[in-house]
């Protein structure tokens, strides 16, 4: 049985919601364009919006069931919610904001400890301050801490970084990654930002026009081009899992995967760690013969699986560069003209070329099940 079972339908004036998905422990990303209905789904989970019909179960507790007439009030659902705006209580100090959820709110057993959360989110020096005197990033961190300290069964986050600028976002993302690793609370994370999803999420649910279009592991979902219209990711790409290998002196790190080793510009990662990385299709070139005397370091032999003609000048080509035991399909984007000239078709043996410098920090996220002790 899954940790989260969600199924809900409701008709609004502007949109009809019909969403279903299940999720297990870890971070589940609710992904989609604005207006896709993601916030509504989270609000239904929270009890702030009421579906016309459906069934919502979290951790074995039935939150909503239209057939049985069950509809728990938000304060009885044992969840924590981090909104886009911090929504801190202006007349309380930071410390009092943080502990609000604990008083008579949820149960008294508190495995989520104030000291841990304060340290995790870097709030120790802010405890006596008032929200009005904090910066945007600090406020959002307090909001996250407050939700955690309510000892929720699950944490909901609705684009918590949408209201922050790039610097603040860069500041908070590491905190969230740490949180994900050190705490055992499942998280539902709404976002329309691929980078955030890549770095934080394990499962991904894609929504469009009020419906759930697909759900599954992040790597798989992000690699599917049939979901492009919902994900808004028009540059195709592939997400593969690799293990961090040696760091060479000349500034390159080897990422080992089933098709060989991918050289990338040095990353500060611990060797042996598993990571997820995204290879943009437009950074992948194809050749019928193995080129030599070429600057590209990453050259992988492979076989074409499919050639997909899109509108415009480009063609998306799917190539399996994996070894004998395990396929590793990646996307390459070439011009239609080249595809025709080279006679690219399923079954053709090709070489895939990936520039080492094309893969950057933004494209790298944690591997599956990293850090859950």
């Amino acid at each position: 049985m899954s940790l989260i079972e969600f199924s809900a339908q409701r008709r609004f004036d502007s949109i009809t919601i019909d969403a279903s998905f299940t999720a297990d422990a870890g971070v589940t990303a609710l992904f989609g364009a604005s207006g896709a209905g993601k916030t509504t789904v989270v609000n239904m989970l929270a009890g702030l919006e009421r579906p016309d019909s459906g069934r919502i179960v979290v951790g074995g507790m039935v939150l909503f069931d239209s057939d049985q007439g069950v509809n728990l009030a938000p304060e009885h659902r044992r969840l924590g919610y981090v909104f886009q705006e911090d929504r801190l209580f202006p007349h309380f100090s930071v410390a009092r904001n943080l502990t609000y959820g604990g008083k008579g709110g949820y149960t008294k057993d508190r495995p989520v400890d104030m000291g841990l959360v304060t340290k995790l989110l870097g709030l120790a020096h802010l405890l006596d301050r008032r929200p009005a005197t904090l910066s945007g990033g600090e406020k959002q961190r307090v909001a996250i801490g407050r939700a955690l300290l309510a000892n929720p069964a699950i944490l909901l986050m609705d684009e918590p970084m949408a209201a922050l600028d790039a610097t603040r976002r860069a500041e908070i993302l590491p905190f969230l990654e740490q949180m994900r690793e050190q705490l055992d609370i499942p998280i539902v994370y709404v976002s329309h930002n691929v980078d955030e999803v890549l770095r934080l999420a394990d499962t991904m649910v894609v929504m469009g026009e009020g419906e759930t279009k697909a759900s599954g592991p992040v790597a798989e979902i992000l690699s599917r081009i049939d979901l492009r219209q919902w994900t808004g990711i028009h540059d195709a790409g592939t997400v593969i899992t690799a293990t961090v290998g040696d760091q060479a002196d000349d500034g390159l790190t080897a990422l080992k995967f089933n098709g060989g080793a991918l050289q990338v510009a040095r990353l500060h990662l611990t060797p042996g760690r598993q990571v997820r990385l995204r290879i943009h299709a437009k950074d992948v070139s194809l050749a019928l013969e193995k080129p030599n005397k070429i600057s590209v370091l990453n050259i992988f032999p492979g076989k074409i699986l499919e050639v997909s003609q899109t509108k415009g000048a480009q063609a998306d080509v799917r190539v399996d560069i994996g070894g004998a035991s395990w396929p590793v399909p990646i996307w390459a984007q070439v011009t239609k003209r080249s595809a025709t000239d080279l006679g690219l078709a399923p079954g053709t043996k090709v070489f895939a070329l990936v520039k080492a410098l094309a893969v950057d920090r933004e494209d790298i996220g944690p591997g599956p099940n990293t850090g859950h002790s």
């Binding site: 702030l48 202006p90 959820g101 709110g105 009005a132």
Partner: protein, 234 residues
């Protein structure tokens, strides 16, 4: 000050304090209903609450007479079941003052409630707080300045209430002869100018005192709410 003036002052204070004190919980409740809830008949409630503002005070007084007098629908019940008589007593004067001041109180509180971000209240709910706890811990402290404004306005209005009072409870020395009624009497009496001036000065002094007190309290409240020190005005 003459005995008449002292009595009028004492009575005015008593009537105004009771009027505001008793109507405050209702004021908060009605303001909350109008600010936060949707329900059939909401527009009607809004209209009824505002009636004393737009209808002649004497008309309101007459309505009170019909409903709350000893022979009135509610007044008769109050007398039969609780032995309470409102007409011809300071309690009736307090009711008249409270009714006339009610719309002012509700407006001020409702305005401040609408200014409080309802999203804060939602956030509190998601943290496990019951609606009551949200109201007491979040809403109430944040609307405190608005409640204060409503109370001061209502108090001042009660102090000055005349038309509804004299029509409902008439002028009874010692029971209902508040400052405005006493003032009216001496104004109508030839040679009463000196007394009139004194009563006017007393009324003004009272009003100023109320405003002054509320200003000080408001500043303290705002400082506590935002954690900032109040700036000294120029």
């Amino acid at each position: 000050m003459t005995p008449v003036e002292i009595e009028a002052l004492r009575l005015s204070l008593k009537v105004a304090l009771w009027a505001v004190g008793v109507s405050l919980p209702f004021g908060v409740l009605v303001a909350w209903l109008l600010a936060r809830r949707e329900f059939p008949g909401k527009l009607l409630l809004d209209g009824i609450v505002h009636l004393p503002l737009v209808v002649p005070p004497v008309a309101v007084g007459y309505l009170l007479l019909v409903v709350l007098g000893r022979n009135g629908a509610v007044g008769g019940w109050l007398y039969d079941w609780f032995g309470i008589t409102l007409i011809f007593t300071w309690k009736g004067a307090a009711v008249a003052a409270g009714v006339m001041a009610f719309p002012l109180m509700v407006r001020a509180i409702r305005l401040s409630m609408e200014a409080v971000d309802a999203r804060l209240e939602t956030a509190a709910r998601t943290l496990g707080a019951s609606p009551l706890r949200v109201f007491l811990g979040i809403t109430l402290p944040l609307i405190a300045p608005g409640i204060l404004a409503g109370v001061v306005l209502a108090f001042a209005r009660s102090l000055g209430e005349f038309g509804a009072t004299i029509t409902f409870v008439s002028n009874i020395p010692g029971q209902t002869r508040t400052l405005p009624l006493a003032l009216y009497s001496v104004m109508q009496t030839p040679g009463g100018e000196d007394a009139a001036v004194r009563l006017v000065l007393i009324s003004i002094a009272l009003a100023l005192a109320a405003i002054f007190a509320s200003e000080i309290i408001a500043r303290r409240l705002t400082a506590r709410l935002t954690g900032k020190k109040p700036r000294r005005g120029r």
